[in-house]
């Protein structure tokens, strides 16, 4: 029935929608046509423009140009509330629930039932129970606080909350990623019923089998534009991956050395590392001189893995060995000590990497204060010497060592963050997406630097959302999916096709089996 050509006009149409964030083009003339009573899937790799598209529809960001037509009338939303009023409701990937309020309060948050001006708690309770029932989660107590619920239950509350708003267009942005298999099955029943009821559903997921089960048609996004729309069942998984590929290479990478084998214990060895439900049984090694990339879609546990290694997480199980000796860093302070020698270049340089109002010199010495001070007093001469060396080494462009770090350009700020950790002379360097939001020139300098550090004997573990970097920089790449290593790619095996298909957790069994590392 859903295969039939729609006779009605589309409920929602986006035409030529564009959006830039500063110099970055997120959407470039994207088109999308959505019909009532059908489920429409949206596909694309990291940074293809999916989330921007959804944010525009949900009223979170305003487009720079283009039209949105709802029921034949052009609309524009200046807030999520406005989008909701028009009947467009989005279930976001980052939960939009309020932790300190009860489930019922949350479900009715935007428009609670009122009597004599006050919230009618009994009516609200009924509404919440109804919505939970409709969402297939009648087991959740309406009076429980959201913060006391596990993640998968919260996601169900999120779905119930969206349903309680009586949407006409429902957007599910990775809404199933936090759910257990049993919940996914229930949600699918609900989604199919909503489709019968005439809702238009936009379904964003990276799970190909979910899309195959639900969607009547899919649109693939690449480089901020829709590249193809196809009816369900007309394309194979491989063809879909083919459509998602096609980024132009814009970076120049330093040559990789030939693979070397030595008998020594690997500098970093991780065995069966697990943490809550976010990291599952991760094992890998990183030899001295090797750049190991972490790939996969955003939020599959890469960040947690780096934090776990660096001693930030509590209750990590499994084994970490540095140069053969088991270690268990209990804090970043312990992890950076000489015996372990680890450094983590964090994801968000503005909050986790730099003290923006403080000087470049102070920022550079923070991690290495032990090295530049004698008897608890900072040795100014020694500090200036080391700081000067770092500024020369990384070619940091600054008005002087006393200029505030915040006055530097993004690329130079990132260099300061990296240099700060090089001051402690680490042997294991963990990087969390170090090139995000910086200019191409600085990116290339960072690639060269990473390779030089590796050649000097460091082991580098490098998480990046940019597939080009995994291909160009890394000797090996681990692809994470749902907190576990799905695939290990070595040398020439690291291709865009292999990265995308394993990030989406598809690909032929044989291919996967051949390429998987020694453990799991």
């Amino acid at each position: 029935m859903t295969q039939l050509e729609p006779t009605a006009s589309p409920i929602l149409r986006m035409e030529g929608v564009s959006k830039r964030y500063g110099g970055v083009r997120a959407l470039a003339g994207a088109d999308l046509v959505v019909f009532a009573g059908r489920i429409h899937a949206i596909l694309g790799e990291n940074g293809a423009g999916k989330s921007t598209l959804i944010k525009i529809l949900a009223g979170v960001v305003a487009p720079d140009s283009g039209r949105i037509v709802l029921d034949g009338a052009e609309v524009g939303f200046d807030s999520p509330a406005a989008a909701n009023r028009a009947g467009i409701v989005c279930i976001f990937q980052e939960l939009s629930l309020i932790p300190d309020l009860s489930v019922a309060d949350n479900i009715a948050i935007s428009n609670p039932p009122r009597r004599f001006g006050m919230i009618d708690r009994r009516a609200q309770r009924r509404l919440a129970e109804e919505a939970l029932e409709r969402a297939g989660a009648p087991d959740i107590h309406p009076l429980a606080l959201v913060k006391d619920l596990p993640l998968s239950r919260r996601q169900m509350v999120e779905i119930a909350k969206a349903l309680a708003r009586k949407p006409r267009v429902l957007i599910l942005d990775e809404a199933t990623s936090a759910l257990t298999a049993a919940d996914v099955a229930k949600v699918f029943v609900v989604l199919k019923r909503l489709r019968q009821e005439g809702l238009a559903l936009l379904f964003i997921s990276h799970r190909m089998h979910e899309i195959a089960e639900l969607a009547a048609e899919s649109t693939v996004f690449r480089n901020g534009a829709n590249v193809a729309t196809y009816a369900a069942g007309t394309k194979t998984d491989n063809e879909v991956v083919e459509m998602m590929i096609g980024r132009e290479y814009s970076h120049v990478f330093p040559p990789k050395p030939a693979a070397r084998a030595n008998g020594a214990a690997p500098l970093l060895e991780v065995r069966n590392l697990s943490w809550t439900d976010r990291l599952r049984d991760i094992s890998f090694t990183a030899e001295a001189g090797e750049v190991v990339g972490l790939g996969g879609l955003d939020g599959q546990g890469q960040r947690e893995l780096l934090l776990a290694l660096f001693g930030v997480l509590r209750g990590v199980s499994g084994e970490i060995r540095v140069a053969g000796a088991p270690v268990s860093p209990s804090s970043p302070h312990a992890a950076k000590a000489k015996s372990i020698g680890m450094a983590l270049i964090p994801e968000d340089r503005k909050t986790e990497g730099l003290m923006l109002p403080m000087s470049v010199r102070e920022n550079l010495s923070f991690a290495a204060l032990g090295r530049v001070s004698r008897g608890g007093v900072v040795d100014a001469t020694r500090e200036s010497k080391l700081v000067g060396e770092m500024i020369d080494l990384l070619e940091i462009h600054t008005a002087g060592t006393d200029a505030p770090a915040g006055s530097l350009s993004g690329g130079n700020q990132q260099k300061v963050v990296i240099a700060k950790w090089l001051m402690v002379e680490p042997r294991i360097i963990l990087l969390n997406d170090p090139t995000r939001g910086i200019d191409v020139g600085t990116k290339q300098e960072i690639y060269v630097l990473l390779r030089r550090l590796a050649d000097a004997g460091a082991a580098i573990v490098f998480y990046t959302t940019d597939y080009d970097e995994l291909i160009g920089c890394c000797d090996r790449a681990l692809v994470l999916y749902d907190g576990a290593v799905k695939r290990v790619l070595c040398g020439a095996e690291i291709t865009e096709r292999a990265l995308i298909s394993s990030a989406l957790n598809i690909g032929t069994e044989a291919e996967a089996a051949a390429a998987t590392g020694p453990r799991r």
Partner: protein, 326 residues
């Protein structure tokens, strides 16, 4: 079925404050030379209600994850104003009361506008506005003095049927008229949402600005009620910097003791009221046990520290150390 268990868990802070207060007050009155008499209760009530009202004012703002360091100054300002205008005949006094409350609302509105539209941090905004309010109070009453409409003052600070203290009854009325409807209104719900997670509240289409503004407005109103009540107790107005400062700080202590989270999003003004009464009872307890009043700040501090420690016990469960830093 298990509704009551959820309700109990969510009001634990309020209930704990209530239980602690009852225990402390029982110890106090059973050791008081005059026993549990109407007089003892009335004196305790008049002292307690002042702080309870200021603590209530603080609660409105703290729930939105803000803080109002001007509550004590609004309290002092409205006291000075009341000592000028709540005088004369019953009619003029009634108009005066309205004027005092409107002044409180205006102070709250100023704070709200600065915080919401000026995008200043509440702590800075209210330190500054508090200083302004105190300046106006000094202009009104350079030296302590003034008067108040006697019959009203006596009625509010006296006893009902010669047993129950009228001030407590007045406090209950304030709670019923101000807090209970607020707690159950959509705008009150929005205030909790904003305090718990402003981003999630915004993404859910909650009126974030209106909720904050309303919280500051009600904070000003509650503080002016306290100022009015102070005038009834003292029969005069005084621009006392000491009063303004200590009531501000004590209101924060009372809020914490009452189980209101300084991170916002949870707690109740009723808890804060019992927190305030508890805080006041500490001093009374020292009196009946013949301890030097010089020890009072020390004991108040220890009680506060203990309460804060209990409140932060959940930090032991945090699995990602980055979450330890708010």
């Amino acid at each position: 079925m298990s509704d009551w268990r959820y309700r109990l868990a969510q009001n634990r802070g309020t209930l704990l404050a209530f239980v602690f207060f009852v225990v402390m007050f029982a110890i106090y009155s059973s050791n008081h030379p005059a026993g549990f008499s109407a007089n003892v209760v009335q004196t305790a009530a008049n002292k307690g209600v002042l702080l309870a009202l200021v603590a209530m004012a603080q609660t409105f703002v703290v729930i939105t994850a803000g803080i109002d360091l001007s509550v004590g100054m609004v309290f002092v300002l409205t006291n000075c104003l009341a000592s000028w205008i709540v005088v004369g005949t019953a009619t003029t006094a009634a108009l005066g009361v309205v004027g005092v409350l409107l002044t409180g609302l205006a102070c709250g509105a100023i704070n709200g506008l600065i915080v919401i539209y000026g995008r200043l941090q509440p702590i800075v905004a209210t330190i500054a506005s508090g200083a302004v309010f105190f300046g106006v109070a000094l202009l009104l009453r350079p030296i302590p003095g003034g008067d108040v409409y006697g019959p009203l003052a006596d009625a509010v600070t006296g006893r009902i049927f010669d047993v129950a203290p009228a001030s407590l009854a007045a406090l209950v009325v304030v709670v019923l008229v101000l807090w209970v409807p607020y707690r159950r209104s959509a705008i009150g719900r929005a205030a909790y949402a904003v305090g718990s997670s402003e981003t999630a509240a915004y993404m859910s289409g909650v009126p974030v600005g209106a909720a904050k503004f309303c919280a500051y407005l009600l904070s000003g109103l509650a503080a002016s009620l306290a100022g009015l009540f102070l005038t009834f107790v003292t029969y005069s107005g005084e621009a006392s910097a000491a009063n303004g400062g200590s009531y501000t700080l004590f209101s924060i202590a009372a809020v914490v003791l009452g189980g209101v989270s300084l991170f916002g999003g949870s707690g109740s003004a009723i808890g804060a009221i019992f927190g305030a009464l508890m805080f006041r009872t500490i001093g009374d307890l020292m009196f009946v046990f013949n301890l030097d009043p010089l020890w009072q700040p020390l004991f108040q501090g220890l009680v506060l520290l203990a309460a804060v420690c209990v409140g932060s016990a959940r930090l032991f469960q945090v699995r990602n150390r980055l979450e330890l830093f708010p």
